[in-house]
Symmetry: D2
Subunit: 378 residues, 4 copies
Amino acid sequence: MTEEIGVGMVGHAFMGAVHSHAWRSVHRFFDVPLTPRLAALGGRDAARTKEASAKYGWAATETDWRALVARDDVHVVDICTPGDTHAEIALAALAAGKHVLCEKPLANSVAEAEAMAAAAEDAARRGVRSMVAFNYRRVPAIALARAIVAEGRIGDVRHVRAVYLQDWLSDPEAPMTWRLRRELAGSGALGDLGAHIVDAAQYVTGDLITGVSATTETFVTSRPDGDGRGEVTVDDAAVFLARFSSGALATFEATRYASGRKNAMRLEVNGSRGSLAFDFESMNELSVFEADGREAGFRRILVTEPDHPYLAAWWPPGHLLGYEHTFTHEIADFLTAIGDGADPSPGFAEGLRVQRVLAAVEESAARQSTWTTIGDAR
Amino acid sequence: MTEEIGVGMVGHAFMGAVHSHAWRSVHRFFDVPLTPRLAALGGRDAARTKEASAKYGWAATETDWRALVARDDVHVVDICTPGDTHAEIALAALAAGKHVLCEKPLANSVAEAEAMAAAAEDAARRGVRSMVAFNYRRVPAIALARAIVAEGRIGDVRHVRAVYLQDWLSDPEAPMTWRLRRELAGSGALGDLGAHIVDAAQYVTGDLITGVSATTETFVTSRPDGDGRGEVTVDDAAVFLARFSSGALATFEATRYASGRKNAMRLEVNGSRGSLAFDFESMNELSVFEADGREAGFRRILVTEPDHPYLAAWWPPGHLLGYEHTFTHEIADFLTAIGDGADPSPGFAEGLRVQRVLAAVEESAARQSTWTTIGDAR
Amino acid sequence: MTEEIGVGMVGHAFMGAVHSHAWRSVHRFFDVPLTPRLAALGGRDAARTKEASAKYGWAATETDWRALVARDDVHVVDICTPGDTHAEIALAALAAGKHVLCEKPLANSVAEAEAMAAAAEDAARRGVRSMVAFNYRRVPAIALARAIVAEGRIGDVRHVRAVYLQDWLSDPEAPMTWRLRRELAGSGALGDLGAHIVDAAQYVTGDLITGVSATTETFVTSRPDGDGRGEVTVDDAAVFLARFSSGALATFEATRYASGRKNAMRLEVNGSRGSLAFDFESMNELSVFEADGREAGFRRILVTEPDHPYLAAWWPPGHLLGYEHTFTHEIADFLTAIGDGADPSPGFAEGLRVQRVLAAVEESAARQSTWTTIGDAR
Amino acid sequence: MTEEIGVGMVGHAFMGAVHSHAWRSVHRFFDVPLTPRLAALGGRDAARTKEASAKYGWAATETDWRALVARDDVHVVDICTPGDTHAEIALAALAAGKHVLCEKPLANSVAEAEAMAAAAEDAARRGVRSMVAFNYRRVPAIALARAIVAEGRIGDVRHVRAVYLQDWLSDPEAPMTWRLRRELAGSGALGDLGAHIVDAAQYVTGDLITGVSATTETFVTSRPDGDGRGEVTVDDAAVFLARFSSGALATFEATRYASGRKNAMRLEVNGSRGSLAFDFESMNELSVFEADGREAGFRRILVTEPDHPYLAAWWPPGHLLGYEHTFTHEIADFLTAIGDGADPSPGFAEGLRVQRVLAAVEESAARQSTWTTIGDAR
């Protein structure tokens, strides 16, 4: 077993559970240079935090994230809280010399994200690493897709078609959650789902979005909340057109109202010589079209071969991976970067770039969908 | 065999071939009140028209469409020419008291379409019928989809996702055709493919688009043309956001650059209680989701049962239909309307409505994607 | 238009309808050396035959098939009757010098099929042609599959997996039909469905079945028939193991009790270097696997390209064909063979070969599934 | 955390790796009455066992399985070795009062399996539990399928269609492994893959196989082995027909030569009122057909809802599970049974039942496929 590295994690809901599993398991499958020690779990409610800590295998708990960041046995801070606290925790952790893994979207505003990216850049000079948790990059099929585009095998990219469809709000009487409050979540489907497909589309194409035209919608404006009703202050759905710097045209859609679509994070890329298609609901598959004669067709690749990204660590071909593997891969990459003294990707600057796209979407939606360029578009 | 009705068709390329088959075959499968007689085929080149006439089974030929319209044995004029001649021929035929079937898009401009709709309305008062050939409405699965929405089974429509993807221009060296010249075709992918999905989306939802935000692109601006190169003066691709009068959000994409997608006319509709999904590349199937308990899922309906739309005329379950059947259905409906003294649907007013959407797309694209409402939006 | 050839068809039920369509349409799409003239339709009931004749476009009717065969204007006899009459009609027609197209299975017994094959061989010496209507060979995807195997692209064939699944008898109260009476149909699912997959498997692999082990079942032994009940005297389902002369192992299943499977004629072939998979319910597709490095996968070929078998005659890529096209292709091939003075395939000898396999299946099923070799197995 | 239970595991190859993960993780997701302690790992090679032990998280190692069984801190013995040692280890462990989890197939012969089942029955009287590791029963979709059949929702079962297709031997030059030696593995594809589908088919239908007709094949009889070649002494593929006690007809196929099929463990069940279909390559899905009116179709259920089997422990809908989850579920069930003082399922008697079917397959294959009944068939 390699040298231990102490981890402190803030937040113990859905993301906390899946991150815990990855921290516990990563070194059982990957030859990482550092072995995680689950040092401390942070949460505001002492009892619930202790319960989560026991269940997920953490050695200690803290009810104040500042105390967690300050612990000597914590070398990495993993931020799994709602977006409103990302900036504050990340800035403090980086200042304290702790490596930071931060859930997406990076922040609730461009200003916060800018501050975080600046702090991360500064920290990197001191050997302190930071990464945004865009876990879909670590789906083997997505990583393979990027490699295929990078090799030029689909030619010049013409079209990107990205949707992230869920349906848990289709029922107008589904209850309130923090995810529907702007002050906590920053935005709705846009930040939660749209952030993933913006990042994935840029990652797979190796290109950046330069402008958007958008509209957003809140279909149901209040929902059951305890004994009363709470106001929904975020978007239920966001749709936008986009351009990449290559000139490629794109459509994006993020919604929680696509009845029957449970986690349909889908990406299709059409190039001058081929195409790629992915659907997270069949996450072990990548469809690839290469124009080559009379018997061309989309090839359904079961991305479970030992020479596919991340797969050497797992099972024989055809023995599928699941959702949580993406986090194990993410943390393997993060630990490897720390061990190598290298900046992991996506870093906070990449998280900021996504944040700028989300902000442009909101701006365009507020201005009658008028085309809106991304601040630092190259 | 029922009373004969003489048909004159102008144009004998792709659409002419498939319309000929439908005129020849419709009464062999459907109990239509009138039996078509393939009286005359019109085309500018005498030799090629004669050849086509012999191959497709027409009794005579005309090189001047005016002569064809004037023939006593022609009671129906079927317009299968490029869009630049639709208005002129249709107006003359209606004036001469001939029923008109006109290929889509109805015209190359809103002004032409308005004139045609006005003439059709006037003619209808005299018992002369007219229809636009939006054949995708006659795919049994599409007709079934409309029925399911109309029955309220998917609840309130929230999202429409419509694409029409082809790839015959992916190769930058694919040659020029009339379809790439604005003066003949009116527009590119927008009018050719976008018109179909606009009509289908409105047909299936039973609702109208009220506004759009759009952008279009011409990826390859000149192509091989004889010994030289010709300028492409239409869009290669058009993408747009849209709203329906119900408030539903929609995305549309029409392109000829989606490598590997041959004729992927796809439509998904998400409602508050269910969803529908269709892909023309699997045209005999409709996927339906109805939220109903723990074992909900998209149901792949093979739309080949005798009680499915149009299917009583055909083969036993599971014996698939193909592309040309949509035209046979269209002409069966057209003849039935003529026989019944009723206006067929979609009439020219519906074709005009689609034309207005296409015009709004071009207008929005020219104004930085700014939201553009449809002229007569209700 | 090429020289006419007069056709006389016996039988006007399902097969009669689809054959009529093919005879009427074939020369509109294919450059056949002879143009069919629908001379006479034969049927036992004068009124119903006349009605069918008018609907399907035949010039005359006959209530005695012998009179039909004897007509001077009939040069081809097309046999669309139940299997019990195939031999008698075919022998008479061949003796009269008429070309014969006979529906499958060729006969109700090996003895009949032997007589037919002998007569066909004899007739061929006099320039009289005969063919069995195994229409699934004319599915473009099946024809493409054969070509791929023949080119050696999947290597040595190891496995064949063939099923033909329907479900119209799943309901125990579905009514009697002639297809459930041994004296008319010869056998049940075995001859009706099993014959197709035996022929298709031999056709695609280019190899012959040498032995089988089988069992059959009649799940429901009597069914509603008019006011009473009729006895089902054929198999409802037949399953068998088989060997090809190459040593390849195969499984076959034919049933009318596979709830939800409407016309699932499926074939998969696994070779040492690749595989092929087909399902008639997606008849325009062929899935091909070629083992070639890390990104291998089943390629879904949309078999609608102009250089795919039969497709040059039809529509642009992605515009699907349906069930009846297989008959149009079959008749195009038949007319071409007649015009060329060549024997069409599959001839009666091939039909006899299938008949021997069906007989071996029944024999094995009667002998506790003991392995049973095919009479003339090479 | 609940009371600890010490686990000793013998074998540390593929099965050892995946079992280790399950033992480590089960209590992090499931409320099990006993928390596993990974006490000792057994393996013949000291160095390799120590390495595996460190990687997988075991506290100690033993090179003699007898020593492992004898340890006071081992209360459960998990047998992950080739089949030739199952009986000996299991009998010793049960005699020592240790609960036993044994990989499948239960043994290499019916005689061994009988001894094991007898010992397990005897041990159960003393409160010592045993289970066979048919992990595919713990795929949520398979468990859901069983529930649907048990509720009578597909009516009387008519057909079962089960295949388990892999392709790692397609290449004749793929190297030797212990899995190709009869003295170690007992049989080839039959015991390795066939055992799973026999168990799954019996589990899902809730019925037993009463007889079979079979044939087996070894396509490649020697393979590279170190510097020379080794003889393959097991079957490469096994195909068989079967009957269930209900009268249902079944086909089974197990092969390692199905090029392109990586882990296609597929099961389809057709009943008088509906059908079920499953493919492990899409393991998070179950397709269900229920005959109910004009819009029936196979429903693709994404088996990821909280009220689906095992899913309450995992992620939100649409966030897929993978292969190793089946082992976590299996061990959760095993620990629950131990905690409850109940016999887990499948017990050794069920493993014996599968063994008898495998033996009947080999017997039938040796007797010209003659129908062979299962020893204790009810």
